[in-house]
Each structure stands twice: as C-alpha cells, then as structure tokens.
C-alpha cells in the first residue's frame, strides 16, 4: 500500500514536470501571438492579440493559469479550429488509444510466445525464424512496412480498406504495423530472460519436485522472466504513442497522433499543449501500471 502511494506520488510529480517543460519549450520556440495573427498582421494587431490571450504575463503565471483550467478539463480553444480543445481531441484520442492498445497487445501476443519458444530451443529453426522476424522489424521503417501491407492487402487482394476510420477493418493493418514496431525488443528480452531463468537453480528445484515441463515453463520460469518485459512494454507503449503519428498518417486514421502532427505545423498551441500533457499522462499511467504489475509478479519489489 505504501509502495503504491509512493509510486503514485512520483507519477504525479513526473506528469507535472513534463507539462511544465513542454509549456515552457513551446512558448520559447516562437511568438504565439504573431503565429495567430498571421503573415499580414501589423505590430499593433500582434500586440492586441498578445494582450487578449495574456501572452504578455510572466510565463509562470500563464502556466499556472493553464494548468488549473486543464485540471478542470478546460484546455482552452484551438486557434485553428476555433473549438474547445477538449471537444476537439475527445474522439481523436479514443482512436489513438484503440490503436495503441491493439498494437501493444499484438506485439506482446506475438513476441512473448515467440521469445519463449526461441529460448526453449536455442539455435533451433524456431529460434532462427524469431531472430529473422525481429531483425526485419527493426530494419524496416514503419511507413514502408505500412505501404507494403496496403499494396498486398488493399490493392492486390482487396481484403482490407487502405484508409479511413469506418470500422474494425480499418484498424487491422495499423495495429500490425504499430505492433511490429514494438515487437522485436519485447521478443528479444523475453528470449534472454527465459534463457537466463531456465538455467536457474529454482527451475531445477521445480523439476526435482516432479513438475511437468509446461508447469516449469509457465509457472516457474515465465513469471520471473517476464518481469523486465513488463517494464519494457510500458516504455514501448510510450514509443508507440509517438509511432502512431506515422501510422495514423499512413492510413489516414484521424487520431490524436495525426492531430498533434498537424497542430504543430499550424502552431496551434492549446491543442499541442493538451496533447503533450495527455500523452505524458498516458505514459505515466502505463509506467505506473507496469510497476504495480511487477510488484505483483515479484515480491522483492514490494518494499516501500
């Protein structure tokens, strides 16, 4: 319990730090007032806008103002869409989250069994196949892999829609592309962890008790081997939020990643800030969950 509270407190501090940092960086990277005012604006126009949005106040005041509104769910209004940011990103976020969760699930469901199989028979055929798949996954850029899938499944066999957000079919290829991005690292860590654990003394103890191979593998070995994999998966999930920007633009899935990409180009500060905060929060939530999962898996981590 103390452990949980400590992790939670730490997570909140990290979230604050991330939002503060991103807020500062965005405001230092250019003058938001002139960006809103546009090319043809006069100095007087810019000054008026600066005063209207409060950009002339000290940065720390602006941040506090923004943060307290954000805590109430008010992220301000998008400069570009002239809509409340909260309303703008609601739907987009659910698309990205769906994609992210499907992606990491796909990655774990392929990487863990493959890693275990490779570790059980090192240097066997299955081990080499696993290695090949993981090398491919790392060598191949996501956009290229995405395009290959589109050519095969959308253009040649007409099985899956190449773009859009109409139904679950639209998520199949993006999930595979995004998941494949995270898969190699998870697989290799599973394999290394299993190899390590399978030669551990306690695995021999389990065999000496007459446990079956299945029981030895899954109850005794995997539980210990999977601990670093859980932390890695949380980190990969964070990378995938970034990766989803690319994937969403390939498949024209109008998710939060795509929106972030566009909003940066448009200098739409409220939108970008909100997205950064939300992405950071997600990342922190995943890390927090993975810490909790690990504490459940490994009693040695349960010390406050």
């Amino acid at each position: 319990m103390i452990y949980t509270l400590k992790r939670l407190g730490l997570a909140i501090l990290v979230a604050l730090a991330v939002s503060m940092l991103s807020f500062t960086l965005l405001h230092l990277s250019g003058d938001p007032a002139s960006a809103i005012a546009g090319e043809s604006a006069t100095d007087a126009d810019i000054a008026a806008i600066r005063a209207f949005y409060g950009f002339d106040r000290p940065l720390i005041v602006q941040y506090a103002d923004w943060l307290f509104s954000a805590l109430r769910g008010d992220f301000g209004e998008s400069y570009y869409f002239q809509l409340p940011v909260a309303q703008l990103i609601g739907d987009r976020l659910s698309i990205t989250m769906t994609l992210g969760i499907c992606g990491i699930t796909f990655a774990i469901l392929t990487a863990v069994p493959l890693g275990v199989a490779a570790a059980v028979r090192p240097n066997s055929m299955i081990d080499r196949v696993a290695l090949f798949i993981s090398v491919m996954g790392q060598a191949m850029p996501s956009f290229w892999f995405g395009l290959v899938l589109v050519v095969i499944f959308s253009i040649k066999f007409r099985l899956l829609p190449p773009s859009g957000t109409d139904g679950w079919q639209n998520f199949v290829m993006p999930t595979v592309v995004l998941g494949y991005y995270a898969m190699p690292a998870i697989m290799r860590l599973t394999r290394a962890g299993m190899l390590d654990v399978l030669s551990a003394d306690y695995v021999r103890t389990a065999r000496a008790k007459g446990a079956s191979e299945m029981r030895v593998m899954f109850k005794h070995a995997l539980r210990n081997a999977i601990i670093p994999v859980v932390s890695l998966s949380a980190v990969q999930m964070g990378f995938m939020l970034g990766g989803s920007i690319v994937v969403e633009s390939i498949f024209a899935l109008h998710g939060a990643g795509y929106l972030a990409w566009e909003s940066i180009g448009r200098n739409d500060l409220p939108t970008v800030q909100a997205l950064i905060l939300i992405f950071a929060l997600f990342y922190i939530v995943f890390t927090f969950l993975s810490d909790l999962l690990n504490a459940w898996l490994d009693p040695r981590m349960r010390v406050g």
Partner: protein, 342 residues
C-alpha cells in the same frame, strides 16, 4: 536387505568442443532402505552429476548410460519422462547445494512447500498446508504457520536450507539425495542442519545419498562410503572398513588430516594432497591419481584391477594395499597385522 537403489556401471559423458568429457566413469553401488551412503570427493569429481543422473535431471547435452540403474524395481534408464516425473518429488527427492537460489523468488514458501504434495497426492490445499507446517516445525522453524506466507528473500540462508529440507520430505520419499546441503552455509550452522537431516532420515527410515566434504560427518553418519576421484569411485565400502583400514593411496591421503576418525569435529575439511585432477576429456587410461600418487609405478598407466580387501570393501589400485597399514601419523607401515584401529 532389499536394495532400494542399485547402480551398475553408471556413466555420464558431456560432449564438448574439445572432445567428450567423461565426467562419471563406471559407478557401482547399492543402497538399502534406511541406509546412508556418503559420497566424498574433491570439486569436479562428478558427485553432482551422479546425483542428477539418478534424478534424471542432467543438463540436456549430457549423456547417461548404465548397465543397471534401478530404483525399487523400476528401471530408471528406460523410464519415460512421465514416469520419472511421478517419482521425483514423491519417492525420490533432492536437496541442492545452493539454498540461496534454489527457491523460486516469486512464490511464497507455502506455495513451494505444498507443490510436490499437490502434484503427487490427491490432497487439498488445507491438508497440504497442514503437512507443510508440520514439516517446518520438524526442521526447527519457529512460527511455522506464519512462514507459509513469506517469500524466500525474507529468509536467511540457514532458514532457506531448512525449508529445502522440509520441501524434500513433504511426500516422505524412499530416497533422498542431499548434494552438499550445507556447503553454502555459515560454518556455525552446518553441523546443526546436517544433524537435523540425518535425524529425519532415520526417523522416516529413508535411504540417503549424502554428498559432503565433511569427513567428520561422514565418519558419524555413513553406513557406506564411496570415495570419488576424477569421475570414478576409487574406494568404497562400509564406513567402518573405509575409515579404519583405508586402502587406496588417495583415501589414505584424505584421512591423514584426521587424528582420530570418529571423533573429528564437524567442519573439518579434506586433507590437501598436492597436484591437480587430470583432464577427463577424451580417452583416459590407467589410474587418474598417478600424477599425485607417491607410490605410483609404471603399471599405473595401464588398466587398474579392482581389489577387495574384505567382503564389500573395494578399491582400485595396482598395489595390493591390504598388506600395508595406514597410520595416524600418515606413514604407511608394512605390517601384516590388521587391527582395524588407528
């Protein structure tokens, strides 16, 4: 007496890049219910591989062969995995050298103690836990019931080894193999744990193979002794015969450090004999001890006969050493009187 374990010409080979390592080379022994066989030998002599060979738990690449490997009428060398599994943890169990790493860090003591019983017997969790508590108390652990909820990292090395002993005894096996159960522990508790193990073995009338470096313990608890050197048993026999009239020059060297066998304090280690064990990779011929033996002759490079000094007391040496006597001071006396006393 009926033998519970019978081993004839047990061999373990490990193929390595530089050739085959003949780690265990033709072991013979018999063990009856309630008997204790102590295997003694320096590091690398093949003691652990011998125990793992009986358990059927050798590393994957190791190859096991035996003319006979019979446990209570079951031929282990032809037994299927399934049958071996049903024996392990139920009728044969093993205590390992490393208590710090032999327990699974992710599960409670209770989970791990009850596992063997739940796997092999039709008992419920409650009954298995009751048995676990009973055994924890037997191995001298206080507040046994509350230990079930603890994890290995919360216990000291000595406690973990007690747990390992309790775990091996859960199903009241017929044979228990204890591979240097106290080597990794603090010297002050080594004797305690060993005594506990021996008491329980007697109480449950189990056969036991005890691998140890502690000759004081061997002298006190062994019924039979097998001295291993470079993968072979170079001398074996009843504890009394081997201790009072050691025949092999290596055994005599080992015992030289013990002034009065039987009264040596526990914790005493093997006497040191200068030299190193030869490589067992590839073909080996002759006596493996000849590089360190001070009575070696040319014939030692050829096949060595197995001799018996008295019934059941065997040794491998070109010399017929039963004519020479071993003295406490270490010299080999050429007296024909065999008093069986040092």
């Amino acid at each position: 007496m009926d033998n519970i374990l019978s081993v004839r010409d047990l061999r373990v080979d490990i193929p390595l890049a530089g050739g085959t390592l003949h780690a265990v080379r033709g072991l013979n022994f018999d063990l009856a219910r309630g008997e204790t066989l102590c295997i003694v030998g320096e590091s690398g002599s093949g003691k652990s591989l011998t125990s793992l060979a009986i358990m059927g738990l050798l590393p994957k690449m190791a190859q096991r062969r035996a003319d006979k490997l019979e446990f209570s009428g079951i031929d282990l060398s032809s037994a299927k995995n399934r049958q071996m599994r049903s024996l392990r943890g139920d009728r044969i169990s093993m205590i390992f050298q490393e208590p710090m790493t032999s327990l699974n860090p992710a599960y409670t003591i209770g989970d791990q103690l009850t596992e063997a019983l739940l796997l092999h017997r039709k008992v419920g969790r409650k009954a298995a836990e009751a048995r676990a508590i009973e055994l924890l108390e037997k191995v001298g652990i206080t507040a046994a019931a509350s230990r079930l909820e603890q994890y290995p990292h919360q216990l000291s090395g000595g406690l973990r080894q007690r747990v390992m002993i309790a775990m091996a005894l859960m199903a009241e096996p017929d044979l228990i193999i204890a591979d240097e159960p106290t080597t990794a522990l603090d010297v002050t508790i080594q004797a305690q744990i060993l005594r506990l193990l021996v008491d329980l073995q007697r109480e449950m009338n189990m056969a036991m193979i005890l691998i140890t470096h502690d000759l004081g313990v061997v002298a006190r608890v062994a019924d039979k002794v097998a001295i291993m050197y470079a993968g072979e048993v170079i001398e074996s026999g009843s504890s009394k015969d081997v201790f009072t009239a050691p025949q092999h020059p290596y055994t005599r060297g080992l015992l030289r450090c013990i002034p009065v066998p039987g009264k040596t304090k526990p914790g005493e280690h093997l006497g040191s004999i200068p030299g190193i064990v030869p490589s067992l990779i590839g073909k080996t011929q002759g006596c493996a001890f000849r590089g360190r033996c001070d009575v070696a002759i040319d014939a030692c490079a050829h096949d060595i006969p197995e001799r018996a000094s008295v019934e059941g007391h065997l040794y491998r040496c070109v010399h017929d050493n039963s004519q020479t006597q071993f003295s406490a001071s270490g010299e080999i006396n050429t007296t024909s009187q065999s008093e069986g006393r040092l």
